[in-house]
Symmetry: C2
């Protein structure tokens, strides 16, 4: 992995952390517990991949950095809420995430449910704010796009399919669709956010949508490969869970070797979608390589 990307990721993580710190009020009053849980979930050493994608796509169009950071912060709130709820005993029942107790383990289930709810709500409050973008139509498009990407026909729908996959005989196509809904939809929002903020035209948006779609699938296959092959100490959470749970994954369908090939093909396809962009797209290209070469 290029050290440039490592530096950029570290810098993005700091910048997003500062914005999130400002947006997540310091706990106070008898309701402090839910705010503490929100901060615990958000400041847990995550990679901030989604905000990085927002910044990378915003840089293609010279979008103001502060605006991109606010969209990235809102998106990270949605991502963190989804992790809190997915980790609950009734869902994936995970005790550890990134080497730390999950929110319901550190606090309790009720607090975890509420903290997730509040983070999801906060995301839309952030997007509606003038700090995010001066153009009201842009803010509204961001609200709508994020809602669609994360709702019952996006991320939540994908999680629903994943939980009930045993009841259906999902073929390869259905599993790709599931994975796109579960992970890809939010990544697509991240990549398209720059185009939305810059009022970019349809052709440019279509290229970015193609990049995002392939990146999302490559990323998910890499995730499944980490689960199948990874070391729990490096990955920071339990591995081998998908196979144990009989989950419908692309790796399960294709096998390890073909899944690795497929991830590499998707990563290259993602990069090919960026052909019309010049060196401004260098970061997006590096992220597509990182997606399949990461260790955690």
């Amino acid at each position: 992995m290029a050290s440039d990307l490592m530096d950029t990721m570290a810098a993005t993580s700091v910048a997003i952390g500062q914005v999130l710190d400002k947006l997540l009020v310091v706990p106070a009053g008898p309701e402090a517990r839910v705010q503490e849980a929100m901060r615990y979930a958000v400041f847990n050493g995550g990679k901030r991949l989604r905000p990085l994608l927002v910044l990378a796509s915003a840089d293609l169009f010279g979008v103001e950095r502060q605006h991109a950071l606010h969209v990235g912060a809102a998106l990270e709130c949605v991502h963190c809420y989804s992790l809190i709820h997915d980790d609950l005993p009734a869902m994936d029942d995970d005790d550890m995430r990134r080497g730390q107790p999950t929110v319901h383990k550190k606090f309790d289930e009720a607090t975890a449910i509420l903290a997730g709810d509040a983070l999801l709500t906060l995301a839309f409050e952030i997007l509606a704010s003038t700090d995010t973008h001066p153009d009201p139509y842009v803010r509204l498009e961001l609200v709508k796009s994020l809602a669609v990407a994360s709702g019952g026909h996006g991320m939540v729908g994908g999680q629903m399919i994943d939980l009930t996959a045993d009841d259906y005989d999902l073929d390869e196509r259905a599993i790709f669709r599931l994975q796109y809904m579960k992970t890809g939809a939010l990544l697509s929002f991240a990549v398209e956010a720059g185009a939305i903020m810059a009022h970019a035209g349809k052709k440019v948006r279509a290229s970015l949508a193609g990049y995002a779609r392939d990146l999302g699938l490559a990323y998910q296959i890499a995730d499944d490969l980490l689960d199948a092959l990874g070391d729990a100490n490096v990955v920071g959470k339990a591995t081998g869970k998908d196979a144990d749970a009989g989950k419908a994954t692309i790796v399960g369908i294709l096998g390890i070797e073909r899944a690795q090939q497929q991830a590499a093909i998707l990563s290259q396809q993602a990069i090919d979608h960026l052909a019309d962009f010049d060196k401004k797209a260098a970061l997006l290209r590096e992220i597509a390589e990182f997606a399949i070469n990461r260790r955690a």
Copy 2:
């Protein structure tokens, strides 16, 4: 209770039901289960009090009916999501609501969590849509106001306090604050929504905010009284739960008789805030009376 109000409530319920039916896609695909649960939660014979308040406040200003119905539908989605999550075993652990199994009993806990998440998300998607209002600034103000009313410093914050009330020695003032956050904030949004849609001035908004604040507290005391005195068969859910759970309620602090007096005072205060409005406010006045005289 005036039969006029009954008729209006019934008509509102039908109109809101039609809008919600259009907005909640008919279940399809392997993700159908979450959509089924969303519809089950939303079409459960609820009173649609919050949409009624939106319509009543919108009528003060001649706001177009279709716009008010969309705001009412979004608000009802938030209300229903909060009921699904509040009913979960980790929260209030309720098996029945309005005489029917709660969502996690009818489906399962994971589906209930996801259905709540998706309804909350859908609410913001609805508010961002042009069907809700042609003015983008109005839509953004609705998004922001609903997020604040329902988030960590509003409804969710109130629920957090309620769950941990045992850990704090809440005085009367703190309990009123808790109840306002838990129930009043969303009712306030409902009443102020009409003013937002009509670009009403500060003075008018202050009157409506005062009405909403007093109405919310009166409504919550009446709710607590129903819990303390009510018949489970009429109320449609378990009663006597607050006392059993040692919950911090206004009835618990004031006792039955003083709480009844307090609710009546608050209802009258709410009506007094409407002094500057003519007969267009008749419905809001009737609702303030209904809030404390209802049986369920």
